[in-house]
């Protein structure tokens, strides 16, 4: 990677704005919990929340809460509560964090900034297969109804249209249920309006991701990672699209002025898997010391809602849910990742195996080998977990990252 005269950027201005959006969101939810002016729903990441928003639910995301718990180093406490109740330690730690925080809330124990209590739970299995069982337990603890939208794994040769119809039928049933549950009819015009906002937000989100195709990149993957929050949680509001619009202007300015996230970025690196939320600072420092600039990840695809179309609100919602990246086959993911390496001009890959996330980690070896064999780029696999710090050994991972840097250096000779 060429290095011309580059300036080192400070923290993104958009970070402050993001902080404000997050604070407002959670404060608003807590107020609604007290006033009960709206019903509260918990939704999984790729659930069709547009329907919930259109029916005036306040929507909360336990997975986002787990990520924050990990980043704030409080997940361990929640997980301990779960283990004390006999849940197995090797369960998904998002699940253990969530169940632990729930039990803690219900029993008046100390829990980190608990989510507003739900009246309804909506889960989809298009991100993983454990999630349905996890949410079944949440439903049991909260004594509230749970609906699961079933999404088939999209294996080669499957009729995707049929999968979409399968999901659409369930969305129609969901709407019927919610109308009975709330006593109100779904306003389809409002649904269309919300899908329009969501599409606008998603388009701007995708543009944000594309900024890192620039060489050099204006920000690292860790810098922009947290900015998935608006598209996940707030895309029904114009503020989400506006946040990305302003962030994109900021990134464009950095690109024009040659601003880079740290001194001497030598290598453009891909990250596979979910972040180790508690280790972001340590990994950032380590990667920076090695001249490795994390550029992008297929993790971003979880928060992309590219197929939304207000002119076909319900159909496009069904397509979005049914054809989520994580429902795709391993071959699809391998080829997709290969394309990402080409589009973003990546030099190497770091595959972040998560000990408690088997569905997310199981494809890593295959994808890593596939891309390495196709493109001749070096890879390494590090170990850790989403939020459980006991599964993490910084020194072992540091050694693997250093070895990757040595491999890249030797390739230059």
């Amino acid at each position: 990677m060429e290095t011309k005269e580059l300036k080192i950027g400070t923290r993104l201005e958009g970070q402050k704005r993001l902080g404000g959006l997050i604070t407002d969101h959670y404060n608003s939810a807590r107020e609604i919990e007290l006033t009960r002016e709206k019903p509260i729903a918990w939704a999984s990441t790729l659930a069709p929340s547009e329907i919930l928003w259109a029916m005036d639910f306040c929507v909360q995301y336990p997975e986002a809460y787990a990520a924050t718990s990990g980043a704030r180093h409080v997940a361990h406490g929640h997980c301990e509560i779960t283990e004390q109740r006999g849940y197995e330690r090797h369960l998904c730690t998002y699940c253990r964090n969530s169940i632990g925080a729930t039990i803690g809330q219900l029993e008046g124990r100390e829990v980190f900034e608990p989510l507003a209590r739900p009246d309804f739970l909506l889960v989809t299995n298009n991100t993983c297969i454990l999630i349905t069982k996890w949410w079944e337990h949440l439903s049991h603890y909260w004594k509230v109804p749970l609906i699961n939208i079933d999404c088939p794994v999209l294996l080669p040769g499957m009729d995707e249209k049929e999968a979409v119809q399968h999901v659409k039928r369930q969305l129609v049933d969901l709407i019927k249920f919610l109308e009975e549950f709330t006593g109100k009819k779904l306003d389809y015009d409002k649904l269309q309006e919300i899908v329009a906002h969501a599409k606008n937000s998603s388009d701007n989100y995708r543009e944000m991701l594309n900024k890192n195709k620039s060489v050099p990149a204006p920000a690292t993957y860790f810098d922009i990672m947290g900015h998935n929050f608006p598209n996940l949680v707030l895309r029904y509001k114009p503020e989400a699209a506006e946040h990305y619009r302003l962030l994109n202007l900021e990134l464009d300015q950095r690109i024009a002025e040659g601003v880079v996230p740290f001194a001497n970025p030598k290598y453009r690196i891909y990250w596979d898997g979910l972040p180790y939320w508690f280790a972001i600072r340590q990994l950032s420092e380590k990667l920076k010391s090695l001249g490795m600039c994390l550029i992008t990840s297929t993790y971003f695809e979880i928060f992309a809602f590219d197929k939304l179309d207000p002119d076909r609100a319900l159909d496009s919602l069904a397509e979005t849910v049914a054809t989520a990246y994580f429902s795709r086959s391993v071959d699809y993911k391998a080829k997709f990742t290969e394309q990402v390496f080409k589009d973003y001009q990546l030099d190497a890959g770091v595959f972040a195996y998560a000990m408690s996330c088997k569905p997310g980690s199981i494809t890593m070896r295959y994808v890593s080998d596939y891309v390495q064999n196709k493109l001749g780029v070096p890879m390494t696999m590090i170990e850790g977990d989403l939020v459980d710090e006991t599964f993490y050994n910084a020194e072992r991972n540091n050694m693997k990252l250093e070895t990757l840097a040595e491999m890249l250096e030797s390739m230059k000779k």
């Binding site: 390494t380 072992r396 040595e406």
Partner: protein, 256 residues
């Protein structure tokens, strides 16, 4: 140019001194808390063997987990890169290395220049490492260096099902209580280690390479090499001093 490579592992610290004629000497001693002091001592021991002093050394490369703790090292390089350089020096045709140390086992693919192309390590678990044999030897009340020879006397194949070092110890105690022969237990332990390592090898080399090079402290156990050969159907080469190959590689890289 005299260079030094020092490999500070979890169990032992190894130093190799390499002179301008390609001669080298080495020294090994147990690792400990005072890494700089142990490092200095083991380097001195290796220098003494060639009649050299520290002042004559041009460059020191430190590797292993303790590499960041040697203030007098010229630079640090990971043990994977060092091991590759060391093996390439000893076996220039080698393309696949298996290194079994005290707490790590690694499979490393290298190119014709001795550069690392791909690598895999054991996950955060001591199964398939020297620690597994060490704990087992203690339980069997034998010296760990004797385990290989004892295993060769086995007449009946049994299986140690636990891969966890701690739970395997319980399993060994149960086997002893049932009067299982020590030789059979030792053989099963070796098979357990090699099975774990096979998984690592296949993860980076699903197609067969011609031969592999076995390094690390556990490579001194000839039974491991023989079993690996048998289970893989491939030739296993072991350097004369497999425990110091990484330190040798570090000394070679110190010339750069």
């Amino acid at each position: 140019m005299i260079t030094v490579g020092i490999d500070i592992g979890s169990t032992t610290t190894k130093a190799v001194v390499l002179d301008e004629n390609g001669r080298y000497s080495w020294s090994v001693q147990p690792s400990g808390i005072d890494i700089p002091a142990i490092g200095k001592q083991v380097i001195k021991n290796a220098l003494d063997k060639l009649g050299l002093s520290l002042q004559e050394v041009s460059s020191i490369v430190a590797t292993g987990y303790g590499r960041i703790s040697l203030p007098f090292a010229t630079k640090t390089v990971t043990e994977i890169t060092c091991n590759a350089a060391g093996v390439h020096h000893v076996f220039p045709e080698a393309t696949l290395i298996v290194d079994i140390g005290g707490q790590d086992s690694k499979a490393i693919k290298i190119n014709s220049q001795g550069r690392v192309v791909q690598f895999a390590m054991n996950d955060k678990c001591a199964a398939g490492t020297g620690k597994f044999l060490e704990v087992a030897a203690q339980t069997l009340e034998v010296n760990v260096d004797e385990l290989g020879a004892i295993s060769q006397e086995s007449q009946n194949r049994i299986v140690i099902s636990n891969t966890c070092t701690v739970f395997a110890q319980s399993e060994i105690v149960s086997l002893i209580a049932r009067k299982t022969a020590k030789e059979d237990i030792a053989a099963a332990l070796h098979e357990s280690i090699v099975s774990r390592v096979l998984g690592l090898i296949e993860s980076i080399d699903p197609e067969l390479e011609k031969h592999i090079v076995l390094t690390g402290g556990v490579a001194k156990n000839i039974a491991i090499a023989k079993l690996l050969e048998r289970m893989m159907g491939r030739t296993v080469l072991v350097p004369d001093n497999p425990q110091i190959t990484t330190a040798l590689g570090a000394a070679i890289l110190a010339r750069d």
